[in-house]
Amino acid sequence: MQSLSDLSLVTQVAVFHNRRAFDQLVRKYQSPVRRFLLNLTLGNEALSDDLAQDTFLKAYTHITQFQGIASFQTWLFRIAYNVFYDYKRKEKGIVNSDKNPADEGVAAADSSLFTLHSSLQLDLHAALAILKDEERACVTLQLIDGYPIGDIARMTGIPENTVKSHLRRGKEKLTDYLKRNGYDGNR
């Protein structure tokens, strides 16, 4: 039923350029898309909102390419991941690549501390900062957004076996991190 109403809204946007229909879609999906990007950017609200805006603008201009095979949210997440990936690629072109990727991640987490509201989010983003970009995307898509491996592969454009490897490595790193920081109650 939910996907039927989504399809109806998408059709109205694609055929009649109905802005009200698109407004409803943005309202409905802004939270999961912004949360996904917030986790990918380690809690940087300003950056994740910019990327989320780009995501919805791209969705609007390419709405005729939505075929309705996957859900609208899955399609949006795919665009969001591509927008984030493009941003990282541009950023890597600008920033000096001498830095250790791990240091870079922790630095990003530190700089975003000002935008965080609760200690829970702070813990979450600090933990996600130890992961590489692809690992973080796969882990958040599975453990927070609850997507199966097949959907994650389609969204990120990464082969399923590589997604599995990213998930395994990411989960190993996170388990190690959480245990070292006493989240298992042994501190």
């Binding site: 603008l57 813990d123 979450l124 989960k171 245990k179």
Partner: protein, 109 residues
Amino acid sequence: MTEIDDRLLEQFFQPARAQQVEDNGFTQRVMGQLPDKALCLSHWWTAFCLLSGLLLFVVFKGWEPLLVGVWSMIRMVTHVHPVPFFMTLGVLSCLALLELVHRMERMQL
């Protein structure tokens, strides 16, 4: 490497799953940045032209010259003049091919 502790990870990510991001004017900002209204206007203009065309077609009985044209084409085919017939067929095929290529390009965009 440490063995994966699924229970610990599940517990750690549980609050993040329930997190909802408030809109706080985000939708309004996105709607304000949508591409120019000119695109929307062009669609209305296309619809207007289409309706006007249909109206004029009905008012001036556009089907009459159309039927004459179709009838003469049928007569031409039945009289078997292979050269003009195959020339017409060739032109129509080229047009269809061009339209197909154009559509495929648009789909790729």
